[in-house]
Structures are given as structure tokens and as C-alpha cells.
């Protein structure tokens, strides 16, 4: 029977334990939550199947609350500070969303209940679909995918299914810009498509000549993020979509950056055929420390038959006296379901709440102010940091280079680590790949001017420190609960559980 408690070495080089794990805190006999005695006779247990031991920790409720509360204090979060992560849209997460998602009428609903008992939920799903369609211009939607990458896989499979349904089995080539998020090529590869990279031109747009060269009858489509990961609205978007369509391909839109264009531009109107949304970005649902997200997919009418099954729909129109009856619809050429049940309903409720509160005007103002905030920051930093396309009005984000010729030892990583000493989460690092030492900065619309000024000041001060006191950057952060962590050690000496696998034998 393996020891649950970690035996820390007694020598002075043993790492200091800031917070013991639940296993280390465990004391035999402690219980957090008790349950009633059975109110039915005990049935004989299946002897050959009962387990001998259950190596779980034993803690009181107060132990558990204190432990996780203390852990929470070690996190930066939107509720505690600024998070200018490019392409993540770390906007404020409204607390009302947490109330609506937890309404018992939603929280206690089993997904397989008969539709007569779930009309409220079905109606909410339906209306969310309608609103997202209106925002984007698409004809049909699925709310089933669990996250953006999941939505991408769904969208790419739809494209593939569409071509094959027309006998176009040769169309296996997917074009992906060099500025794309890694999930784009990964999703394409998972769908059996061949990835071909398309360069960006000097203005940060997709290189039209390179695109034209790839437009042939093996083209399945192009995956485009618009605005792109440089924060720029592609100046040739409609031409790009036309070129792809003329060659018989489809255009996939990665909707990660939708926050810049809600109410301003509708992707379907620009020629995009299929797009995923990130509810946990654009629509204020919380990031959760790494999910859950939600990645609905919108398509044009031509692709509607291929959406995943099932989709919330009106199954009986009703009349003046009876309301419509909501139920489930299975698209006739569906690619199939992409997960169990209906998708992340709890996340959809939050997005629905947000869209209802913002309304038509609010969604557009959110986008406009996201763009205002990003341009303001870009203007404040333009003279201190190289911003490759800084001469253009950016959209909701921009990319700066985190290095200077006269500070050769300083990299984007060092700037990021030092930013934490000023109470800011660093911007996205090293993405997009086409900008060296990239710092992708997206403030979002929910940040006030004082925060933006403080952030710009911090970055300007760091730029000075890079020349006058580079050591303070190289050894940053200094004021956070933890210093830089040894990632090489973590990868070379894998410890992935509270005890080592060999101790289990």
C-alpha cells in the first residue's frame, strides 16, 4: 500500500512547500461531507469486483475550503487585474451570468428529458442561435462544440463533407496563413486534409499572389482569422473569398477576433462560409482557468445540412393561442455529433444573458470601444516599441516586438515576466509566429483609461530598464508569489501526480 504523504527529503535543499497538497494534508478518519444511512436493505456486494483500497485524501470541510481559498490567492484573474492577452479577449465576466447559469430551472435539467419538460431551455438555445446568426450573417448554427478548437474541427469536417457530397474527393488542400493560431492546422490535419501555408504580405494581409497560385481543383478551402492575429482587418477580404469560391473552395473563418467587428461587419456578408464563435472570448463567459469554453459554429444555407446533430429548432409553429413548440432537429447530411448531449448549455446561458443585456447597441459599442482601447494603447507605445504595422489603425489588438537592438539580451519573455511586478498579466508571447519576440496586446473594451495608462507606463519603464538595468528583467518577477519556474526540470523529471507511479506498485 503506497504511502500517500510525500516524504520530503530532510536535507536543506528540499524545496519549500508553500501550500501542501490535499494528499499531504490528509489525516485518516477525517471526513468533509457525510451522507445518510441507506433507507433500503443492503444488497450483497459483488465480491470479486469490490476494491480493496481507495487512496483518496481525508479532510474536513474547513480544511478543504481553506486549502482552495489559499490557492485561489495565488492566481491573477480578471477579477483582480488586467489581462491584455491578444486573441483571448479577457473582458470582464459579468456576475449576473453566474446567477442566470445557476438558476435551478437550468442547473437541474437532465439533457435527455422529454421536450415538453424543457421548453425554456430549448427556447433559450434557439434564441441564442438566432442572435448569433444575426450578428454574423449566417443561415444556420450549431451550439454543440465545446470550445473554439472543437468548433474548428467541426467546421473543417463540414467543409470536407460538403466537397465529398458533390463528388469532389480531390479537394484535400487547406490553405492556412502563417499568422494562424496552431489549432487551425491541427484541426485540418485531424480531418485528413493537407495543410499548405500562405504567407502574409508587407501590409499584414494575406498575400494575394500566393493565394492565387494555390487556387486549383484540389483546394478544399482557406482558413482565415479576421481581423487577423496582427489585429488587422484584411484589406482584401472580399477578393480573397471570391478567389477561393471561384476555385471551388470554401472559406473558414476563425471567429476568435469577433470582438472587433460585432455590429460593424458580418463575416457571412464578407464571403465567409463557415465560422466558429468563442463564447468565452467575445461573449463574456469566463475562462475558468482553462475552460470550459464554447465554440458554436455558423454556416451559410448551402452548408446547413451538414451541421452536427442535434440542433434546437421549432418543431411546431403553434398559433395565436399556443406558443411554438421547441424540439430537436437532425440535419439530413449531418457530419454526426461532435460530443455527448447538446453542448455547453451552462456557458450558452451566460452568453445569452450577456447578449440580452448588451442588445443591439451594446454589442456594437463593445466592439467600437475595444478598437478604441487598442488604438489608444498602440499610440502610447508606438515610440517605445516596434509595432510592425503600427502605421495602420489596428482593430481590437496589435502586436509589438519585445526587443531592441541596444538591449540584445532582453527578449519578450523578460518583458513579460517584469510586467507581473507591476500587477499586470503579460500579453500573449511569441504569437503570431511571423513577428519576432511578439507581444500580442488586446485590452478589451471593459478596461478604463487609467488602467491603460498604467500599463503603458509600465511598458515604457521596462523599456528603460532594458537598457539601464537588464538584470532586473532577466531575473523577474520579483514581487509575485512565485519566481520563474524551472520548466526544463518539469519536463525532464516528470512528476505528474502527488506520488510517483513506481510507488503505486
Amino acid at each position: 500500500m503506497p504511502e500517500i504523504k510525500l516524504e520530503l527529503p530532510q536535507d536543506e535543499e528540499a524545496p519549500k512547500v508553500v501550500n501542501p497538497t490535499i494528499f499531504e494534508m490528509s489525516v485518516p478518519g477525517r471526513v468533509g461531507v457525510t451522507f445518510p444511512e441507506p433507507d433500503v436493505p443492503a444488497a450483497p456486494l459483488p465480491e470479486s469486483f469490490t476494491r480493496e483500497d481507495l487512496p483518496l485524501p481525508e479532510l474536513s470541510e474547513a480544511d478543504v475550503i481553506r486549502h482552495f481559498t489559499n490557492l485561489s490567492h495565488l492566481n491573477h484573474s480578471v477579477d483582480t487585474g488586467f489581462y491584455p492577452l491578444g486573441s483571448c479577449t479577457m473582458k470582464y465576466n459579468p456576475k449576473i451570468n453566474e446567477e442566470t447559469a445557476r438558476l435551478p430551472g437550468f442547473a437541474y435539467l437532465h439533457p435527455l428529458q422529454p421536450i415538453e419538460t424543457t421548453q425554456g431551455a430549448l427556447g433559450l438555445l434557439y434564441e441564442t442561435q438566432e442572435w448569433l446568426k444575426e450578428i454574423s450573417g449566417f443561415a444556420a448554427m450549431s451550439l454543440q462544440p465545446a470550445a473554439g478548437a472543437h468548433g474548428e474541427l467541426t467546421g473543417v469536417l463540414i467543409m470536407r463533407a460538403y466537397h465529398r457530397s458533390r463528388g469532389d474527393d480531390k479537394r484535400v488542400k487547406m490553405l492556412i496563413p502563417d499568422s494562424a493560431h496552431g489549432t487551425n492546422p491541427a484541426s485540418s490535419a485531424m480531418s485528413g486534409l493537407r495543410v499548405v501555408q500562405i504567407p502574409s504580405d508587407a501590409r499584414g494581409n494575406i498575400d494575394l499572389e500566393a493565394l492565387k497560385a494555390e487556387c486549383d481543383d484540389t483546394l478544399a478551402g482557406l482558413m482565415i482569422t479576421n481581423p487577423n492575429t496582427l489585429g488587422l482587418f484584411d484589406e482584401n477580404l472580399t477578393e480573397i473569398c471570391d478567389l477561393v469560391h471561384e476555385a471551388g473552395g470554401l472559406v473558414y473563418g476563425d471567429g476568435a477576433n469577433l470582438n472587433a467587428i460585432m455590429g460593424i461587419s458580418r463575416p457571412a456578408d464578407c464571403g465567409i462560409d463557415v465560422m466558429h464563435f468563442n463564447l468565452h472570448k467575445t461573449f463574456s463567459t469566463p475562462h475558468g482557468g482553462g475552460g470550459p469554453g464554447s465554440g458554436p459554429v455558423g454556416v451559410t444555407a448551402e452548408l446547413a445540412d451538414f451541421l452536427p446533430t442535434p440542433i434546437a429548432a421549432i418543431v411546431d409553429e403553434g398559433d395565436e393561442e399556443t406558443p411554438p413548440l421547441y424540439g430537436w432537429y437532425s440535419p439530413p447530411k449531418t457530419i454526426g455529433r461532435v460530443k455527448s448531449f447538446h453542448g455547453h448549455f451552462g456557458i450558452v446561458v451566460r452568453a445569452y444573458t450577456y447578449m440580452m443585456m448588451l442588445g443591439e447597441q451594446g454589442l456594437r459599442e463593445a466592439a467600437r470601444h475595444a478598437v478604441l482601447n487598442a488604438n489608444y494603447l498602440q499610440a502610447l507605445l508606438r515610440d517605445t516599441y516596434t509595432i510592425p504595422h503600427g502605421d495602420r489603425i489596428c482593430m481590437h489588438e496589435f502586436v509589438a516586438e519585445g526587443h531592441w537592438e541596444d538591449a540584445p539580451d532582453i527578449h519578450a519573455l523578460d518583458i513579460s515576466k517584469r510586467l507581473m511586478d507591476f500587477g499586470f498579466h503579460p500579453p500573449t508571447n511569441y504569437f503570431p509566429l511571423i513577428v519576432p519576440e511578439a507581444l500580442m496586446i488586446e485590452p478589451t473594451e471593459t478596461e478604463n483609461r487609467e488602467t491603460l495608462d498604467a500599463f503603458a507606463d509600465a511598458l515604457i519603464r521596462i523599456a528603460e530598464e532594458a537598457r539601464t538595468d537588464p538584470e532586473v528583467l532577466k531575473t523577474a518577477p520579483h514581487k509575485t508569489p512565485f519566481g520563474r519556474l524551472d520548466e526544463v526540470k518539469a519536463a525532464r523529471e516528470l512528476v505528474l501526480c502527488c506520488w510517483l507511479p513506481e510507488d503505486m506498485d
Binding site: 475552460g291 451594446g362 519566481g483
Partner: protein
Amino acid sequence: MFLPHTEADRQAMLKTIGVERMDDLFKDLPACTTDHPLNLPAPFTEMEALDEIAATADANETVRELTSFLGAGAYNHYIPAAVDAILRRGEFYTAYTPYQPEISQGTLQAIFEFQSLMTALTGMDVSNASHYDGATAVAEAVNMAFHNFRGKRKKMVLSPALHPQYRETVHTYIQGTEIEVLGGDIPLDAGPEALIPLIDDQTALVVVQYPDFFGRIYDYAALGEAVHAAKALFAIHINPIALGLLKPPAEFDADIVTGEGQPLGIPLAFGGPYLGIFTARQKYVRKMAGRIVGETVDTRGQRGYVLTLSTREQHIRREKATSNICSNQGLMALAATVYLSLLGKSGLKRVAELNYHKAHYAAEQIAALPEFGLCFPQTPFFNEFAVRCPLPAAEINARLLEHDILGGFDLGSAYPGMENCLLIAVTEMNSRNEIDHLVEHLAEVSHA
């Protein structure tokens, strides 16, 4: 509201940018911009929105108002209040993925503890930080097995008693690959050894469920041996509550153990967000998709945690990554971690026993009714069982609903020929009274 800008703010900012009006920021956009307002409602204040949405919620009847015996992959379990108390902490739920470990140790340590709890429950060596749900965890196991053999073995054997929605999901995921799925037409009462003839040197993976979709418990040792004799991988999909009682699937020599973690402190919520569990043997750690947290030290000599083995993931490998997964189910993994911390060794065992005893009481009472019987009377089960009824399950459920009872899952909707069969789940949330009422109303049905 959520926009902090005053008119003065806007003016000052526009001046710094060097434009006159907000509209100037958009003047360079190409032609495909929207020139008319969207057809969406006007804004609601928080008060009005809550009113409206609460009415929508009230238009549902939930497992609180109705007595529920519905399972089939989502279960009505008790969620201790302390779980949500932690989940509602803004430092957890409004945090981002822990890419900057110096300011994310809360999230990272919680994930590390989650990984440890999953390996403790399943008996496996390593766990990732979660997948979207049980269905996609199984699909990723298929993916992993395919890449493990570098595409040279293309056959995946899936038990017909693996959740129908999981099998559907696998079919969706493999449509762009050369993977072939077998096992769908093996008879349901044939037992796990019936899969053995399907295994050959082209088999990459064999997948079974424990307890299976029908709630049945099987000894998979012989099947595991046959899988390994063919040098294929063996995956077992579990219900984590059952593992409070049942021996861990590691004892059947599984290489991969997946699971649906919704029963661990996560609400039914009309189907999601749920929690995909993914664990494996140590030697497959680099082939596992998803985020993984590892232990290390910081520059100040403190023990800490980081995301590790990132080079498997999409942001590094891009089209060579074996999976595209980015966001996972971080907050739901935290829910499971808090739930298991609260229940602990004795609590989880007690919940599992309650489920077991109540389900067996229900099964015994129902089987004693004339014209009703258990579909698989010889096989042990956990908290779910299939019942043969004198009428179609759909009709039985309709009648039960009139008495505010959600009957079981209509098995005919997933398995042709089982239209008269109901899959009934009983959890610690069902009192003896409720079970007696169910039996009473079922008895009425056969007399009507």
C-alpha cells in the same frame, strides 16, 4: 454597465490616437461592413434580464420538481455546497489558462491535485488536465492509439455497450482518417469475450465501458489479455462514482482509462459543461493529448507547478500535433477536485454504496412485478439496470410523467429491438419512497 468610458475619456483617447471621431477608426474597413443596425432586441438592464431569464428557467421542469430515474451518461448526484463556494471565487473562474505559472499557482496546483485524484481512482499512472467530456475523451483515445502505431494499425474495436453517443462521436472524429470501427453488431448479451474474435494484428485499440451503458459490471481481465496478446491497446471508460466501490480498471491491465466526470460535483445543466477524464500508463504520457501539469521548483526554492510536455500540443506542433485541443474543462476539473476532497476515501465509498443498494432495491421490486423483468438478470450491475416492460418504453415514460416521474432512458431509441426496454438509474438522491412510487406506477401500467 460594462463600458467604463465617459465622453471625456473618449475625446482624450481619440486625441492621443490622432483622429477626430470614433467612426474614423473604422473608415478604412473594406466594403463588406454593415450599414444597418442588427435585428436584435434593445438592451435590457440587469433587473429586466434576470426577470426575463428566470421566467425562461421556470418554463422547465427539472429533476427537483420531478422524480428522476434518468441516467444514460448524466446523473443526478448531490453536490455539496462547498463545491460552488470555491467555484464562485473570481480568482479561479475568471483566471486564464496558466501559461504564466508565477501568477497561476492556484490553478496549477488544483490541476495537479485533480490529476492525482484521477490516477488514484483509476489506478493508472498519469492523467491529463481534462477533455471536454466522456465522448471526446474516448475519441481522443482512438486518436492516440492511431498515432501510437503511426497509422499502421487502423482498426478500433468498440464494445456495443459503450455509450451510443460516444460511439457516434468517434465516428464523427474518424471520418477524415482511414480508421475503421468494429464491434457494433456484437450481441449485447454475449459478454466482453465476444469481442476477442474481432482482434487481430491490425487492431490499434479495444474500448469497453465499466460499468457499461446498461449499468453492467464485467470482468475484463480475459479480454485485456487477448488485446495485449495482439499487441493492441486496451481502453476502459469509467463512471468515477462506481470506482468508489469497484476495483479500479488498472487491474484489468488497461493502457488508457477515460471517464465522464459529471457525477463528481458537476450539475446536470441540460448536458454541459461536463468533464472528460483521461488517464494512461506512464509509457504513453507523451502520446496523451491535452494539458498536463508537472511539479518543479522556482528560483526561490519553492515547490511549484507548470504546464509541461507542451511540445505535444497544437501551439507548438501545429499540423503535426496529434490533437487540436486548446481550452479544456479547467473549472469543471476544479469542481471534481473539491468534490472528491470533501467526500474523501470514506465519502465516495458511502455514495457508491448508497447508489448500489438503492438501485438493487429498485431492480428487485420491479423484477417482481408481473410482465416486467430485468433484461440482463445474470449480470451484476452498479446503479443502472435495463428493464423489459410490457409496453413500449416511450409509452411507459409518458404515463410516468403524468405522475411527475421521469422514467428511464428509452433503450429502443439507441438499440433497435429494445423498444420495450427502459434503462433505469438510481442514485443517492432517490429516496425509498420515490422508488416505491415508481414501482407502484409501473405496476399500474401493467394492469391498465
